[in-house]
Symmetry: C2
């Protein structure tokens, strides 16, 4: 394939070549990075931004902006080049020159929050397209609530072969097709190349047919034919289904000897090839030099966006939805939430119901959903088990997107990514449910929740062997540890209805951290029968049962706290004074600092109790302390049998306590 | 839809109704379980087994048997009922009566190893169909090697809506279509029902079109029309593509008032509905009673299988492949492997190369692959980064399956499940590569490797911030902890070329445990320059640098061991004696027992060093001990900059050592 002839270069050719030049020069300067995708998709990106995108670099959070997601995140230089050319004030040329260097905003993959105009963190393949589904869903839901005067924008995605091979893409496109997300437009960078070589090494899928099977509008174009790309975008926008545009491209387009091969995917081109590319493209400018006419052309895109934003701002100020729209995009009303939860706790501590914490979660959610108007619930097809749908919630059923409950289907991973997209979009507050053990299915997207600092709430029920008969495939034993291992993730395992409500309150108050609520299938007594206005769960751990002089401290979480209480009662009859510490959230407890932790945990021998493995318990346990829990996978049997079988009983705790206190000379 | 009329009941009707009766009675007895799927798919299963399946209950490991995978694992009673009826000697009626009870072989979901005739553990949706792809791939590969005289069997799968909604199914069917696995036949239980309600709540995908897009042969039949099912199986077997047969079924078929609704999916029918079902099906027998004529019909299936197996055994005994076939299905030649690895270690300890452990892994793999003839390599499209393809390996490229290297594509999850299937099938020994951080993508299938005890080897390179510029999305910090949390998984993080070879040896010797090799991108010096025949990595940890009197013990893994050595040298100049313990495998170290561990770790203050979070280090660290590592996500920059930025340096270790030894009064 011939590279473009410089003689016939149009303004858009120059705009595209600026992306190519910046990409290859930045990768070369960093001696690291991926020039192939930005060079291959430069034409598509140029047409998209020049003719369609509506963004205002001076107000990168404008709610009604179009979203652009570089799902093929290794092509990050395309994003940085475009954002520089558009004039984002935090993306000067010095940032491009510092590509992939410490402290630069131009990380190896686009990192949400590092710079304006990066709508989501991408890099782990398939996440971008799946997160974009959440954004596009949020757009339709908000448009249904506030009308097209205020909400009327597109979500555009560039996805590579890798994105479409990853399983999560299936969950995402199925969900998008089902929800008829007509404002979602995906460009497939169909360059026929993966890292190992040609795509024929590993795939034979007819991608257009596959998307069509999922209810998408599908087109195929030459990704270097700008008019064809523009016409396809027009047609995609006109169709009420999500659209996939297969763009046949040459990876590394412009690099005379290397383009179209996997050599240009993930390594610098080298000085000679770069020089040859400059010549082939007719791009005579020095590295990191952009002629003013190219800047001017790109700045016109920004101006058009600024005009649109100003018109939108006028519409908002005149809208009768203005207050609710602004409230939806503002912070959570913490005072109202606190009042509602406190009142609820008053009632529950008096009622002292014996309910599973999954049921307690539904009860607390009634309060939360009654107080916060913009929550969006959902479940990965376990609504009746996760108890995520509260009274009055209505499903989001296309083409009517007015509801507030999403049937995500049996798609934990897609659900998590969609929730990330909803949170990133703004205006809605997502939570979603599945079984705790299936956190493994959702984990790559949960990691992005944590890395991006998105306040997404994961409602994960059936949190131990306490689920019983479904057996070891469904019983988390290492899942709590694996989630606690994740930075910036709050893992709650509440002991009763009060702690569950408190956990919901803390989760809803987060602005930069996702939460997991690990909830029991089995019924649990209410232990906090004495009301406290204070949210004790927010402290991470606290003394639930105090004794004048401690012989032993039992520290437990979730369903094992009532077991610890039972053990403490049993020990008391044997002359051993046991304090019980409930520890619903290790991360918050750790944040209290060592002194506060030690004050709560005390000097006496300690026993940790959790129907899970011990890893992670070194936060509270010392060598010589005891642990009553699991050491391997579970089994299939009724829950009480399993607790006995695995030795997680009040008796076992009491026995351990007796051993420890004897050793310590307390008896 | 009418249930079958008892008057016209054929022998196959009775065979199918026996499955239905056993399923509903066992679920009722357990007061827990899923009657809907077994009752809905009883006709399909009956036709499949009665007319096609070739298995011998007296030799459940017969290598050339057909495989049956109940991907919709909640329908486990279908498997148990069929296996009981077929006469497996470990599946008497007492087992069915003990469905879901402690110690029974009839767990809530089918558990591999619990009973004969359970080919894989299923339950987490999508895993069965994806594991079956590995089985079917192994079949084609072995057929290419040994000929159809010895290897000529089918892999049959029953998959539900959930299996097909999960993302992993996309990776699996894409891989199967690409590899033209013509012996793979999937029955889709198209009952239109999920837990939340009708499938229209969450999906609009045209499944047949989707499978066709992935290169599959597709048919649709009435799943209760036995002749139609049989004809479809015939056609599927005749086609050289993998086949999907969409079986329109009524979930809970036979239950007059509940069939076709989600009420029959996952709960007992109740006594009244069961009585009505008996009447509707014309099944007058008491619970757990099967008339002899039905047993006879099922036993005929077993007899046909036994005949086939005997004929096969005769062919094997006469085959010139007999020895190599048996060797491929036998244990690893540990003596040969040990000799080869020991000779290699001799050479490498003398050469003392400075190589990344991912490169050292390739060097060790040359030895492994040169010694073990039936390894199957692969990578999720990172061959050149994972260094998984050794000299002479050839890709498995359809229709020629003679190779030994699989380009799994950008499908970590599908790769892991396929490797499980290959390992379960027997005859081949799979390993596959990706980046360590993408263990998250593969995690649900890795959990099944561990739960089933399959000796699959995961080659996971780019194991820390040491990968540099790709940034936090690609940098594992919590991944080691999350994998160490998993029961029955060996996580190796070798320090140099010697430990890498030793880790490969241990991994290859496993028979009931999967292994992860976490390998560096960056070059590392050879530290074990004094040869030992003994495999020190097999001990989990050992003293690499000994000192007469320890002031401090530095314990490190992988790339941080050389850093610990550097710190020890630095400390020596300052009068502090530091021992260095290399800890390439925590699980093996834990297995040594506390006394052995303490002997190695010593009494001096300890410092753990790992470019990852601290969780899991309580195996070796006590309160007051030091840790030099990560506390949050990484960043994008050249690796040396990141190590400095995050304070993981020899200097930081030395400073920590000085603080600890001063505190202890050593100076």
């Amino acid at each position: 394939m011939n590279v473009q002839s410089p003689v016939s270069a149009t303004a858009e050719d120059l705009m595209a070549n600026a992306i190519r030049a910046l990409a290859m020069d930045a990768v070369q300067a960093a001696n690291s990075g991926h020039p192939g995708a930005p060079m291959g998709m430069a034409d598509v990106a140029t047409v998209l931004f020049n003719r369609f995108m509506r963004i205002d670099p001076r107000d990168h959070r404008w709610p009604d902006r179009d979203r652009f997601v570089m799902s093929a995140g290794h092509g990050s230089m395309l994003v940085y080049a475009v954002n520089h050319l558009l004039g984002y004030d935090d993306m000067p040329m010095s940032q491009l020159k510092a590509f992939r260097q410490l402290g630069a905003r131009t990380a190896g993959h686009p990192e949400y929050g590092h710079a304006k105009g990066i709508e989501t963190t991408t890099g782990p393949l398939g996440q971008g397209i799946s997160t974009a589904v959440g954004m596009a869903l949020a757009e339709r839901m908000l448009a249904a609530r506030f009308g097209s005067d205020l909400v009327d924008h597109y979500t555009y995605v560039i996805a590579g072969d890798g994105c479409l091979m990853e399983g999560i893409s299936h969950e995402a496109i199925d969900l998008a097709g089902h929800q008829k997300l007509g404002r979602l437009i995906v460009f497939w960078d169909d360059n026929g190349i993966t890292i190992d070589g040609g795509t024929e090494l590993s795939t034979s899928t007819d991608q257009p047919a596959r998307f069509a099977a999922a209810g998408w509008h599908v087109q195929a174009v030459d990704g270097h034919d700008k008019e064809a790309v523009a016409a396809a975008i027009e047609a995609a926008r006109a169709d009420d289904r999500p659209s996939m545009i297969a763009c046949r491209t040459v990876i590394g387009f412009g690099a005379p000897t290397m383009q179209g091969t996997h050599a240009v995917h993930g390594a610098p081109l080298g000085d000679d090839e770069i020089a040859a590319t400059r010549e082939a493209l007719g791009w005579s400018h020095a590295p990191f030099e952009i002629p003013q006419q190219v800047y001017d052309a790109w700045k016109a895109v920004a101006r058009r966006g600024a005009d649109a934003r100003e018109a939108w701002a006028r519409r908002l100020s005149q809208s009768h939805h203005a207050d609710t729209f602004r409230a939806a995009h503002g912070p959570v009303d913490r005072a109202a939430l606190d009042a509602a939860i406190t009142a609820y706790k008053h009632r529950i501590s008096a009622d002292a119901p014996k309910v599973a914490t999954r049921k307690a979660s539904e009860m607390a959610l009634e309060v939360v959903n009654g107080t916060l108007p913009n929550t969006v619930g959902g479940s990965a097809d376990l609504t009746g088990s996760n108890n995520t749908k509260t009274k009055g919630m209505t499903p989001v059923t296309p083409p009517d997107h007015t509801g507030n409950y999403v049937h995500y289907g049996i798609r934990e991973h897609g659900m998590a990514a969609a929730m990330n997209g909803i949170a990133l979009h703004g205006g809605l507050k997502p939570y979603g449910g599945t079984f705790l053990v299936f956190a493994d299915y959702a984990r790559p997207a949960m990691r992005l929740s944590a890395l991006m600092g998105l306040p997404v709430t994961y409602v994960m029920t059936h949190d131990s062997i306490g689920l019983g008969e479904d057996g070891p495939t469904h019983q988390p034993v290492e899942t709590l540890a694996s989630l606690r291992a994740m930075p910036n993730m709050l893992v709650f395992r509440p002991a009763d209805a009060i702690e569950t409500a408190e956990a919901w309150q803390v989760a809803m108050e987060q602005t930069g951290t996702p939460s997991v609520l690990a909830l029991s299938r089995q019924g649990l007594p209410t232990l906090r029968t004495r009301h406290t206005d204070a949210n004790l769960t927010a402290r991470g751990a606290y003394v639930l049962r105090d004794v004048p002089r401690r012989d032993v401290t039992l520290i437990a979480t979730g369903s094992e706290v009532s077991l610890a209480m039972e053990a403490a009662e049993r020990l008391e009859t044997q002359g051993i004074s046991a304090a019980v510490v409930s520890a619903p959230c290790f991360e918050l407890f750790e944040a209290q600092g060592a002194a506060a932790r030690e004050a709560i945990l005390g000097d006496a021998p300690r026993i940790g109790i959790e129907a899970a493995i011990r890893q992670g318990w070194d936060l509270v346990l010392r060598p010589g302390d005891g642990f009553v829990g699991m050491t391997g996978f579970g089994a299939s049997a009724p829950a009480p049998d399993l607790y006995r079988h695995f030795g997680i009983t009040a008796e076992a705790v009491a026995d351990t306590a007796k051993q420890l206190t004897q050793k310590e000379g307390h008896q």
